[in-house]
């Protein structure tokens, strides 16, 4: 097997540099010696069968995985050159720069406005006018503004599932992160809502680095620049998306993307 690191050489900045990352849940090894790089303004899709460690991996990038008891991690992940496990980088700071959208829409049981400004508020912005500005920009970026501008004070749970997910996206964007992690963001949505989110991802990649876990290979093929294929905790192959889907180097990747298993 050729070294997957060398597979995506281009001159973009490296945002995440994953080096020999291993992760255990108790005694079960969930990630096995991962080595790869995530480049600036790329959409990196992570595909693989259930239980292959895709979600674990993406949650490691913002250290959310550590909220699960009994997790043990070795190796390092350099974020803009700093090891995210280093004491000098506080986890709160990492998470404020690496936003996340979850599988199931998870707005707070608060108003739409309160949801969007949650991040800015906890990081110290109090000025009402500034918060209103952030709300408008974020909701516009998440293509939700027109639908909710007249009811910003309504409870977020009055929105449809797709709108809730875009609200969660707006909430993450309000933090002005550099990176957006998306853990199967459309798996709970209908096709139309899914198409909207995909359109948004295409738009957002101009400004953000996006890592997306997806179960749908069509989705990976449609929206990503790079695709990483995981199998049983190992990174089998990472390359330009087109290459993964047309001429993968590994037999297992080929079997998976052609639907022979998974």
């Amino acid at each position: 097997m050729t070294n997957p690191i060398n597979a995506n050489n281009d001159d973009k900045n490296i945002i995440f540099d994953v080096k020999d990352l291993n992760l255990w849940y108790g005694n079960d090894k969930a990630l096995k010696g991962l080595d790869f790089q995530i480049k600036e303004n790329d959409v990196t899709a992570i595909i693989g069968p259930s239980g292959c460690g895709k979600s674990t991996f993406i949650k490691t990038l913002n250290r959310m995985v550590e909220l699960i008891p009994s997790v043990k991690i070795t190796g390092e992940i350099l974020y803009n050159g700093t090891n995210i496990f280093d004491k000098s980088l506080r986890v709160e700071e990492l998470r404020s720069r690496v936003g996340m959208v979850f599988q199931k829409p998870n707005p707070f049981p608060k108003s739409i406005f309160e949801n969007v400004v949650y991040g800015p508020k906890i990081h110290g912005i109090r000025d009402k006018r500034k918060l209103m500005e952030i709300t408008e920009t974020s909701l516009k970026r998440a293509a939700l503004w027109d639908e909710v501008k007249d009811r910003l004070n309504d409870n977020a749970y009055g929105l449809s599932g797709g709108q809730q997910q875009r609200l969660c996206l707006a909430r993450a964007l309000a933090m002005e992160p550099e990176v957006l992690l998306m853990d199967e963001p459309t798996s709970a949505l209908d096709p139309i809502a899914t198409a909207k989110i995909e359109e948004l991802i295409m738009e957002l990649k101009k400004e953000y680095t996006i890592v997306i876990v997806t179960h749908s290979m069509q989705q990976a093929a449609r929206i990503s620049d790079k695709t990483a294929f995981f199998l049983m905790g190992e990174l089998i192959e990472v390359d330009k998306t087109q290459k993964i889907f047309t001429t993968p180097r590994d037999k297992r990747t080929e079997d998976y993307v052609t639907g022979r298993f998974g």
Partner: protein, 305 residues
Amino acid sequence: MGVEFMHERETKNYSNAPMNKSNMNRRILIDKVAKMLFLSSTLFALLVLGVLLYRIGTQSIGWLDLDFLTGKLSIFPEKAGIYGVLLGSVWLMLVVTPITLIIGVSTAIYLEEYATKGRLQTFIKTNISNLAGVPSVIFGLLGLTVFGRLFGLGSSILAGGLTMSLLILPIVVVASQEAIRAVPGFLRDASYAMGATKWVTIRTVILPVAIPGILTGSILALSRAIGETAPLVVLGVPTLILKVPTSVMDDFSALPIQIYYWTLDTVLTPEYANLAAATIVVLLMVLFLMNSTAIIIRNKFQRRY
């Protein structure tokens, strides 16, 4: 390559089993009997409550009036009022409520959100649950030893309040823990993923969602405290207090205590039974009010996620 998981599925076919319809009538009959059994159990409880309320209600007629509520205690039944006693109960609640809410909710937050899951935490949790089942008279003895004698608080409102707080703290802790645990994990995740600290997450996400449950449980615990007699008897709360309490260091009497003493003395003064009945009605009304408040709070903040 362990990717082909083709499990041989064991299939059982039940369609050949003969359906037994012959005892249908019997099953329907059993169903009816079961229903009657459960209904009569419920009715029995209601009946007992009804008799109790009727007895108390008729006994208190003519005794429960404004003068009774605003008058001071007296050894003469016609002149006796429970103003001081009512205030004693109010004072008691003023001590118990903040202590139990602050300590109880803080303990619950610590155990649910901060404490690392391990043996120590399991040990603490088990013991809190055990404490909730300890008879109140034992808490009374503890209160007498620690607050009454050791701290020299005697049988003051403060001593009574602290003792009652100990009594209901385990209930408040357990109720608050359950309310906090019921907050869905995805809300915590959303907050942590935005770089919120634990405390910010607790303050802005967990508590607002958990507070209805915490309040409901706490009010029910407080209504237990307002009706408890044994701890106060053990603490030595005096029989006849003519002075209306004005501070937490004053001696006091409370509604259930007064009911107890008046009932004891009915042999000599039969009218005390009427006074006790009237006091019971007042106590029941207070309890009813508190429980209604708990229900209203619970309904007002129905889960919205």
